[in-house]
């Protein structure tokens, strides 16, 4: 039964990993940009939520009313002000600029908030659970995280394939120049994609802060989990990313059951196995 429990908990944690990954997958799909600072932005959102909760006494989940719009506006300006200037000049500029951003965010958070670990307290939500099977308890928080991941990915999928903005996303992704000729302002479309990505980052950041302790240097680890979920699931496939997150979560859960020191390592090994056997991921959509 401990094994079934490990797998079930792994599936639920996979929802959080899918939330880490969704924003990353979104901007890669639209502009082929890999944001190395993605994980640090998640942690920055956690700190923003922490500050808001401590200043206003809001419930952590309600802090999203402020964190998500702030993150989106930041993403929009970041894209227009800096990242747009790095596109179309090869892989180095976007990679190195977002890498610099990552270092700046980490050390900025360290300056403001010190290296002390922090956590958001969501009260009964964190401790409550129900028994699925004897010995397999489902916590309300993990369940809510997973449900949120499904809703977020469903919403992104709807936005991509059923709205005007989604059509513009797909147009600049397929052929930037033709899209421009059709009157699409690609710079604004990219900025909108980054705003959306950071809104998802905000959701991920708040859940991260509720689920566990966090400190300024957690970003790279979250980036790697998100990245692994994207690659395992297959590039450009949002539901695949959810599946990738679940596989990563299960691998880590099973690894932790064998030996606590193996938790993260088991996830990496699952990722490398997929890379060795199916280099384009399990459910690839774009080449």
């Amino acid at each position: 039964m401990t094994w079934i429990n490990a797998i079930v908990q792994g599936v639920l944690v996979g929802g959080l990993y899918a939330l880490f990954a969704a924003g990353l997958s979104l901007i890669f799909g639209v502009m082929r940009l890999v944001n190395v600072g993605h994980g640090d932005l998640i942690v920055a959102a956690s700190y923003l939520a922490w500050s808001i909760v401590h200043a206003t006494g809001l419930h952590p989940l309600l802090s999203l009313i402020i964190v998500a719009p702030v993150a989106a506006v930041f993403g929009y300006t970041l894209q227009l002000g800096i990242l747009n200037h790095t596109l179309g000049k090869g892989i180095l500029p976007p990679l190195l600029v977002t890498f610099g951003l990552s270092v700046i965010i980490q050390n900025g958070l360290l300056q403001i908030f010190t290296a002390d670990t922090r956590k958001l307290d969501a009260g009964a939500l964190e401790t409550g659970s129900f028994a699925l099977l004897p010995g397999v308890d489902i916590g309300y928080l993990p369940l809510l995280m997973f449900a949120t991941a499904v809703v977020v990915i469903g919403a992104l999928q709807f936005l991509f394939y059923s709205t005007g903005l989604g059509r513009e996303f797909r147009a600049v992704s397929d052929d930037r120049e033709v899209a421009e000729l059709m009157g699409v302002d690609e710079r604004r479309v990219y900025a909108a994609a980054m705003a959306l990505s950071l809104a998802v980052v905000a959701v991920a950041g708040v859940f991260l802060a509720i689920r566990s302790n966090f400190d300024p240097f957690m970003g790279p680890g979250r980036l790697i989990f998100g990245f692994e979920a994207v690659i395992i699931g297959g590039l450009g496939n949002l539901w695949g990313t959810l599946a990738g997150g679940v596989i990563l979560g299960v691998a880590q859960g099973v690894g932790a059951e064998i030996d606590p020191g193996w938790q993260v390592l088991a996830g990496h090994i699952a990722f490398l196995l997929v890379l060795a056997v199916r280099p384009r991921g399990l459910f690839p959509r774009i080449s």
């Binding site: 082929r32 940009l33 890999v34 190395v36 800096i82 200037h85 790095t86 000049k89 892989i91 180095l92 500029p93 976007p94 990679l95 190195l96 600029v97 890498f99 610099g100 951003l101 990552s102 270092v103 700046i104 980490q106 050390n107 900025g108 360290l110 300056q111 790279p220 980036l223 790697i224 990245f227 692994e228 690659i231 020191g261 193996w262 993260v264 390592l265 990496h268 090994i269 990722f271 490398l272 890379l275 060795a276 280099p279």
Partner: protein, 333 residues
């Protein structure tokens, strides 16, 4: 009209001569300076070597790795295993660390080369994390908290402290200057021509018949091997080592990237200039701590956005100066 084709320029003759003089001065340093200066130059040599090697990968072969700390840490762990557990002289462990890193880089390359561009970068990072987590599981080497080289192992380098410091210093010098020499020799060779072509355009060099994957593989393995030796040297310098320090992305990759980007990516001179700037900045700004890192990051972003060829690229364009000529020049007579 006839023309003269040459590689060297007057500046490069002068630079070559000055480099020889400088090398001689540096080699003799243990006789006229103290341990503190030796250590500072030794640390400079580590960053010179790492920056030159990363530049070969990212600036020429188009392999933007953020996981070179994998080989630094690997080299450090090979050295400490051979010295503390098997009783080897640490100096003999250095070349073994290099060979070991190159040997493990070959299968790693086969795996991460499946990822393109920026995803390759994060893939190399995952590999470095795997190395770190595996090393943290090795109980005889202190697990997650690491261990130190035993005094007995340090005595095998040299019996007296000044002699030991000098030996480690010369090793650092050999690796720092050696890395630049290897890069220079490589770029003047056939592979270098292919690398320069890949740097300028991968599609064009592919259509000219360059076997891009083979060239990239060879460079990746070579760089990993020398990086492994640098890692072994780091262990000798620091004596104490933990998995987090040995596989630190900030120390062994972030700083190195900033050095190369600020100095000028895709040139031999760039990493040298970048390392000098980095050490100069560090002398004045290191007390600022995390603020210093933010300044470095912002500087790298600024350079990437406004002068992507870095400071040396600016000098080269403005004055046509080349101290380590790898191309050919044509002059009318």
């Amino acid at each position: 009209m006839s023309a003269l084709v040459s590689r060297a320029t007057r500046a490069s003759y002068v630079a070559g001569l000055l480099a020889l003089v400088l090398a001689a001065v540096l080699v003799s340093a243990p006789w006229w300076t103290g341990i503190a200066t030796e250590r500072l130059i030794g640390e400079f040599m580590i960053y010179l070597a790492l920056a030159t090697l990363w530049n070969l990968l990212a600036g020429y072969a188009g392999l933007v790795s953020v996981g070179q700390q994998a080989y630094v840490g690997f080299g450090a762990y090979v050295l400490i295993s051979l010295a503390s557990l098997a009783g080897w002289s640490p100096l003999w462990a250095v070349p073994v660390a290099g060979l070991g890193a190159a040997a493990i880089a070959a299968p790693v390359a086969r795996l991460v080369f499946r990822l393109q561009g920026a995803y390759f970068a994060i893939g190399t990072w995952v590999i470095a994390e795997v190395f770190r987590l595996v090393c943290a599981q090795i109980a005889v080497l202190g697990g997650g908290s690491g261990t130190s080289l035993t005094p007995a192992a340090m005595k095998l380098v040299a019996a007296s402290r000044p002699a030991r410091e000098a030996a480690i210093y010369w090793l650092a010098l050999a690796l720092g200057l050696g890395a630049v020499a290897v890069a220079y020799a490589l770029l003047r060779s056939r592979i270098g021509l292919a690398l320069t072509a890949i740097r300028d355009s991968e599609i064009a060099s592919d259509s000219l018949g360059i076997r891009i994957d083979r060239v990239k593989f060879a460079v990746y393995v070579l760089v990993a091997g020398i990086t492994g030796m640098v890692g072994a040297l780091v262990e000798l310098q620091k004596v104490r080592m933990s998995p987090d320090a040995a596989f630190s992305v900030n120390d062994w990759t972030a700083f190195v990237i900033f050095i190369v980007v600020i100095g000028g990516i895709g040139t031999i001179e760039g990493p040298i200039l970048g390392a000098l700037i980095y050490f100069a900045l560090r002398e004045y700004l290191a007390e600022l701590g995390s603020l210093y890192l933010m300044i470095l990051g912002a500087l790298a972003i600024l350079v990437m956005l406004t002068a992507p060829q870095g400071l040396w690229g600016f000098v080269q364009r403005r004055f046509g100066l080349s101290l380590f000529p790898t191309g050919y020049r044509v002059r009318g007579l």
